[in-house]
């Protein structure tokens, strides 16, 4: 009699889905992504080196722009016009001094003018960047950022011969 009653009670109870294992999996995945994710994700600056096929062909209709970066980080446009001061690694992020150093306004303007000329001539603007062997990588990235802002992506990268 008792057995019969118990079976009846089990049959009457509502069917329930077992979700505890799914929650376990979910928590494990959550912990994995929490650990693996870095919230400050890396950004990029795209550059394309002029190909050898292009250099073997006829010269480009527009003279390529030239940027020289010296060992101390100072930047020159077309070898003569200073467009960036010497690199100061101690400048703190977020300060006006830091922004002034990183953002080379006159270089961006010169590059935008070159891009406009190229557009008028229906050609691709090319810029040659020559860095000293000792130039900090950060300073080259500053120049690349200026190129990206002027929407110039075909860049020749050279190293200045050591004196």
């Amino acid at each position: 009699m008792a057995r019969h009653k118990r079976i009846q009670t089990e049959e009457q109870s509502e069917p329930a889905m077992e979700i505890s294992s799914m929650i376990d999996c979910c928590f494990l995945l959550l912990i994995y992504f929490l650990v693996a994710t870095s919230l400050v994700s890396e950004k990029k600056l795209d550059v394309s080196i002029p190909g050898s096929a292009a250099s073997a062909g006829p010269p480009p209709p527009l003279e390529p722009g030239r940027i020289a970066v010296r060992a101390n980080g100072s930047v020159f446009w077309n070898d003569e016009m200073p467009v960036g001061d010497a690199y100061n690694p101690d400048a703190k992020q977020g300060t006006p001094e830091y922004h002034d150093q990183r953002y080379m306004e006159s270089l961006v303007e010169a590059l935008k003018a070159l891009a406009d000329q190229a557009k008028a001539a229906d050609t691709t603007p090319i810029v040659m960047v020559t860095g000293d062997v000792k130039t900090p990588h950060q300073r080259i990235v500053d120049v690349m950022a200026a190129l990206a802002e002027a929407d110039i992506h075909t860049v020749g990268l050279n190293t200045a011969a050591q004196e």
Binding site: C26, L29, F33, S38, G131, H137
Partner: protein, 172 residues
């Protein structure tokens, strides 16, 4: 009659409701899945990334041959120096990962680095990837001399990879 109903309600409310917690958990999971960077494996903690004023989002890391460019060990501190010493032989300038282990190349090993980039290029090509999508992802330390970064670019050019991506962090 009313008394009985009240007792029933009390009995039901004894169980905690799990569904809002599960909802939150799923939302968090989706957030972190979306934010997880695809090149987590190749990020080297010994490289202090440069900051750029104007840069774009790295949405797709497919076809990227990641090369870390280190500065001189004298300029490294703390965990960066510790990891560098643990993962690479002394004198390493360029650090790469083949998926299973870290490989370090020193000055004078440009040929080996070129071969590594060529192998990676062939690997991506075997996956039917467009050649334009195969890029050198240069993770240069902000203090690394240009000689080191340009060395990696020369090796990539020798291997036929002419699209370069400079890895940066956003400037605040």
């Amino acid at each position: 009659m009313g008394k009985k109903n009240a007792r029933q309600v009390e009995e039901v409310s004894g169980e905690p409701n799990m569904s809002p917690m599960i909802d939150c958990c799923f939302l968090l999971l989706i957030f972190f899945v979306v934010n997880a960077s695809q090149i987590t494996v190749s990020k080297d903690p010994s490289v202090r990334m440069p900051a750029a004023v104007s840069c774009s989002e790295l949405k797709d890391a497919k076809g990227c041959v990641v090369v870390n460019v280190f500065t001189e060990p004298e300029k490294m501190t703390g965990n960066a120096l510790k990891k560098y010493k643990e993962n690479y032989p002394p004198g390493t300038i360029w650090g790469v990962s083949d998926g299973s282990k870290n490989i370090g190349y020193a000055k004078g090993q440009e040929q080996q680095l070129t071969e590594f980039i060529s192998k990676q290029k062939e690997f991506f090509k075997s996956k039917n990837m467009d050649e334009k999508m195969i890029r050198l992802y240069l993770r240069g330390d902000q203090d690394a001399p240009w000689e080191y970064s340009s060395g990696a670019i020369r090796c990539a050019a020798a291997a036929g990879v002419t699209n370069i991506v400079f890895g940066t962090l956003p400037s605040r």
